[in-house]
Amino acid sequence: MDVWANIATGFDVAFSAQNLMYCFLGVFLGTFFGALPGIGSLAAVSMLLPITFYLDPTTALVMLGGVYYGAEYGGSTSSILLNLPGTPSNAVTCLDGYPMTQQGRSGVALFATTIASFFGGTFGILMLYSLAPLIVQWALEFGPAEYFAIMVFGLVAAATVTQDAPAKGLAMVVAGMLLGTIGADLNTGIARFTFGYFELHEGISFIALAMGLFGVSEVILSIGQKIDKPFIQAVTFRSMIPRRDEVRRSGMPMLRGAGLGAFFGALPGTGPSIATFIGYAIEKRLSKHPEEFGKGAIEGIMSPESANNAAVQSAFIPTMTLGIPGSATMAVMMGALLIHGIQPGPQLMERNPDIFWGLAASFWIGNVMLLVLNIPLIGVWVRLLKIPYGILYPAVLCFICIGVYTVRTSAFDVVLVLAFGFAGYVLRLLRFELAPLLIGFILGPMVEENFKRAMLIYRGDFTEMLTRPISGTLLAMTALLLVWTTWVILRDSRRNRRKEHLTGGADD
């Protein structure tokens, strides 16, 4: 099939009046919820999911996609102005964005992140255009062994790549997979670990899990830390103009960020957050002025924001081509497709080319809308954030409860939010990373299913998986990653012990 003809069809679909309107509604609501601290793209998408039940599938996805990347755009606003990440993947932006606000330069930071987001988003969409058709051709040959290997690699990478404590990261992935086994077993229908609760037969609602772990624990910590900072800076158009040297210093970080983001977004398991952390670390290492990082270096916001939005777009690659959701928010979107009777996977592009290409086109239109809208609307979002957190968080909690309740119309799921909110808070105090838990939970059942199928095909002979080229390579890479991680742990602990020996273990 001709790529250009496909792209043209896509824009035809995306430019219909209805799709344009819902795209606009999506990006607007997404930016609004994303800008509220404590509500990320996941909460925003889940809250708005029920409205899309009555739309046709393409329009539904156009709108939810808009909410998703709109929330990621909006999330940087509260990172920069309040030092509170609007979504977990905007956490890195606080490091240099907030110091810029303290120096009275929030206008520049907000303008720069909008440009970086647009650039990253566009780059991610180009990757979606060029890679998705190639991957689909491979994916048709994929068997359960390949699916198993690709997910295990993604999960191990998510747990080890950026973690200070890889053992704890891996423990969270496994904990997520264990929680994922709760519910009816797919092959036999036997209820596992449901403790007699009928509501657990379909498994734990991952929206309840995610909102409890991230949203609720974030709110508790934020109230405790007293973040009612008075915020009085006016953001005018004049204040958005960056210095000439900042423009010059922004280009390469933005490009590197976009590349990293596109890679980690496309790998199921790792996602925007990891891409932003690595992007920041690389810029700091490459910079001629590493001492400026943390004090308002423009590179420190350009790379993560570009990476974030590139990852959001490229996360659609595994979802659309393999049917593997790359992140929690993608899992909700995949749920939306399934509700409309569309099975994401290699067959999607053949059977419903209008959906795939229409979505890709609408993503880009949505990104243009965000660019055009966000610069004049920055003032509105700033005013939204002038509301003190003490008034904001009761509303955030209600929004979370409403979002969880509406997805399955279940008060039981709201009780689960309570339980996971407590668990998330305890885990945060114990310095665990929560993102690997969630992704382990989402991919866990798919890993289990494909592992069982593969072992059935190969009659329990694991070596068959290692000799197939794609699954063998991926599993070898996974093993290398684990060996390397173990080596790093051992090296660091030896270094720590030596330091302890020298300083008497006084500090650090």
Binding site: T188, P394, L397, C398, I402, G505
Partner: protein
């Protein structure tokens, strides 16, 4: 004499306990063989991996030493109670009442909030939820008890 970091020690024990729960809990389900796995197989071995990781974390607690984190009891209790109230009240009195009570209880977690602020904020939150979700976005949620 190495000191033990309580945070890492508790973390290790927690992971170990979780693993043990699934390792032993799954023994009540059919295990099957590697070529034809039963429902107990995967949770059993994931539980074993979790126990191993718990032991690794527990061992590492001998080396790391960082200040213990602050506990925030008041926001913790208030926030969790407010969510419980939502789950309890929504099916009985509808969204507006549930949001009102949820907001009010959650505000008790903020030590600086006075009664005036509690009243004004919770009423406004309830109104915003009603207007935004029921009137504008038309979510299928009962707004009041007569909509149930």
């Amino acid at each position: 004499m190495p000191r033990i970091d309580p945070v890492e020690a508790i973390s290790g024990l927690l992971v170990l306990a979780l693993g043990a729960f699934f390792f032993f809990g799954s023994m009540g389900y059919p295990m099957g063989t590697i070529g034809r796995m039963g429902p107990g197989f995967v949770p059993h071995w994931l539980g074993a991996i979790s126990m191993f990781l718990g032991a690794v974390i527990l061992l590492s607690s001998l080396r790391i030493d960082e200040p213990a984190p602050d506990l925030y009891w008041r926001p913790l209790v208030a926030v969790l109670a407010s969510i419980g109230a939502f789950a309890l009240l929504l099916p009985r009195i509808g969204l507006v009442g549930a949001a009102l009570v949820t907001a009010a209880i959650s505000i008790l977690g903020n030590r600086d909030a006075g009664w005036r602020m509690l009243a004004i904020t919770s009423v406004s939150v309830a109104l915003i939820c009603w207007v935004l979700f029921v009137l504008l976005l038309r979510l299928p949620i009962p707004a009041f008890w007569w909509d149930l």
